[in-house]
């Protein structure tokens, strides 16, 4: 019973356009799973359906056997599936620590009456401890009091993941996590992702650049023009004729 996330016949139609058609794949517990494909393959649409931003036209997303498709984003999040964003979507005006504290919303749900009277001391201490733990995990401890908007690009991406991590998720969905990063930042980010996996969190990441995630993922699903194309280990995908064709338009060579 290792199937954590099952995507079954997921379909999304925008007007007459078929963005994703009958897509099925399985994310195993404790793996780093990549979802790749050329531009316009429907990766981001799939991502948005899994995370609850879109309601699929048909098909299902099963989390431990429970159908979560069509739930709202916060309901999906409360079941343990948390997403991050492309670019630096953060609370720029808040401090780094406060950003992480927003991430602790689910494990330490605020209670307004307790907050007024002051009976939520334990929760606040717990939330701050968790937030600091998340910052420490991503090496942001020393920046806790900085304004999030003032951080470097790499730190902002790490903070985005720290916010997600702070909520004790089972699955983190990462939307093109390496975009705009230099090789050094990319390398460090990969290390963090492996550490996340080793702490028991399952990762599903969407990436356009195939090379970036070859050495990282345990399993890769490739899609093209809204449809399932191939699945396998990085080596299998690298040598899969259909994938090569989709990426290079027929050229018989992948560096």
């Amino acid at each position: 019973m290792n199937k954590l996330l099952q995507i079954e016949d997921l379909t999304m139609r925008f007007g007459g356009l078929m963005a994703v058609e009958a897509l099925s794949f399985v994310v195993e517990h404790g793996e780093i799973h990549g979802l790749i494909g050329p531009n316009g393959a429907g990766k981001t649409t799939t991502f948005n359906m899994i995370s609850g931003f879109y309601k699929p036209t048909s098909g299902k997303v099963l989390l431990r056997g429970e159908d979560i498709s069509g739930l709202k984003t916060h309901e999906v999040a409360r079941r343990g599936v948390v997403r991050t964003f492309q670019h630096s979507t953060l609370f720029a005006e808040l401090t780094v620590l406060e950003n992480a504290l927003v991430g602790t919303h689910m494990p330490f749900r605020p209670n307004i009456f307790a907050a007024i009277i002051g009976w939520d001391k334990e929760d606040r201490i717990g939330a701050e401890a968790r937030a600091r733990e998340a910052l420490e995990f991503f090496g942001l401890e020393h920046l806790a009091q900085e304004r999030a908007g003032d951080l470097s690009h790499g730190h902002q991406r790490a903070l985005g993941m720290a916010v997600a991590y702070a909520s004790h998720p089972d699955v983190i969905l990462l939307d093109e996590p390496f975009t705009g990063m230099n090789p050094e930042e990319t390398r460090r980010m990969m290390g963090l992702m492996r550490a996340l996996r080793d702490s028991g969190i399952t990762l599903l990441l969407v990436e356009h650049d195939m090379q970036a995630i070859m050495g990282l993922c345990d399993t890769i699903t490739c899609m093209s023009f809204g449809k399932f194309l191939a699945e396998g280990s990085p080596t299998e995908i690298r040598n899969h004729p259909a994938v090569i064709e989709a990426y290079l338009g027929g050229a018989r060579h992948v560096a």
Binding site: H74, A77, V82, T89, T95, P110, I116
Partner: protein, 325 residues
Amino acid sequence: MRKLLLWTGVLAGLIALPHALSFSQQEILVFLVINVLLVASYRLLTLTGEWSLAHVVIMGVGAYASALLSKTLGVYVPLAILLGGVTAALVAVLLSFPLFRMKGFYFLIGSFAAGEIIRLLWKRFRDPFGGAKGIKGIEPMPDFSIGIYDFDFFEPISYYYLAGAVVAVCLWILWRIERSPVGLTFHAVHWQDKLAEASGVNLRAYRTLAFAIASGFAGLSGGLLAHYVGTINPNSFDVEVMVFVLTWAIVGGTSTFYGPILGCVVLTILNEIVLRELGFEQMRPFIYGAIMILSILFLPNGLESLIQKLTRRAPAKASKEKVAE
């Protein structure tokens, strides 16, 4: 320790204040205290990023409810004021269903329409709202004595002390909410609703919560007003009053808790005391309008930005205190 001393000083000043004022100034002081609660509650709503034009009408809902409860059902006045606040919060929850399908500009206009409809309903239905003439002869606050001081509520000083105490408690609650994880979540909803949602925040629930709390306190201020002036009508809560609230908030600035309160106090003193004393009776709206324009043009971040400049501390230190709250 220094903080305690400061607050004791402020308290003593506020208690002594009315004795230094004329009778009409004391009356203005009572209105000022009530308006401080109104504008502070408005700030809570703006925390989630929505600007409503119905806030004053919601205050009126509290005023009408409290007046009617005490007048027709004979509810004890302090309880009626409290229930007025509860009614206002409930009306806000009802209004949230249509209004929170809108955002930004549409919410602004939608709230305006909703508020005007409520006002017209008061105007149209003479029973129980009294029509255009409104409700007259509202029960005053019953007099009582606490040993060292006899409260006689025909005296503005007495009402000032009572309203001041109530408003102080309300401000403390609003402050606690803002500085709590709930307040942090309001900020989150405002600045990045998508990220907040992905962190498990129910956006709709938090927007409604802010709207309901803000409305509840506005309703409370309406109840305080109704039992002080003794007569209310639909025009007591029209868009002109809303314009004043908006002005206080914007001239004061809305990025701090004290900004809107500062705006309310400074503009009220300017309007009621300075301009009135100078005898510019008819010119007051003119000068008021000019102040609005000048402050939005030349002080876009409000009076609070001046205060912040004067009391600037190391930012890291300030935010550390915030977390320790």
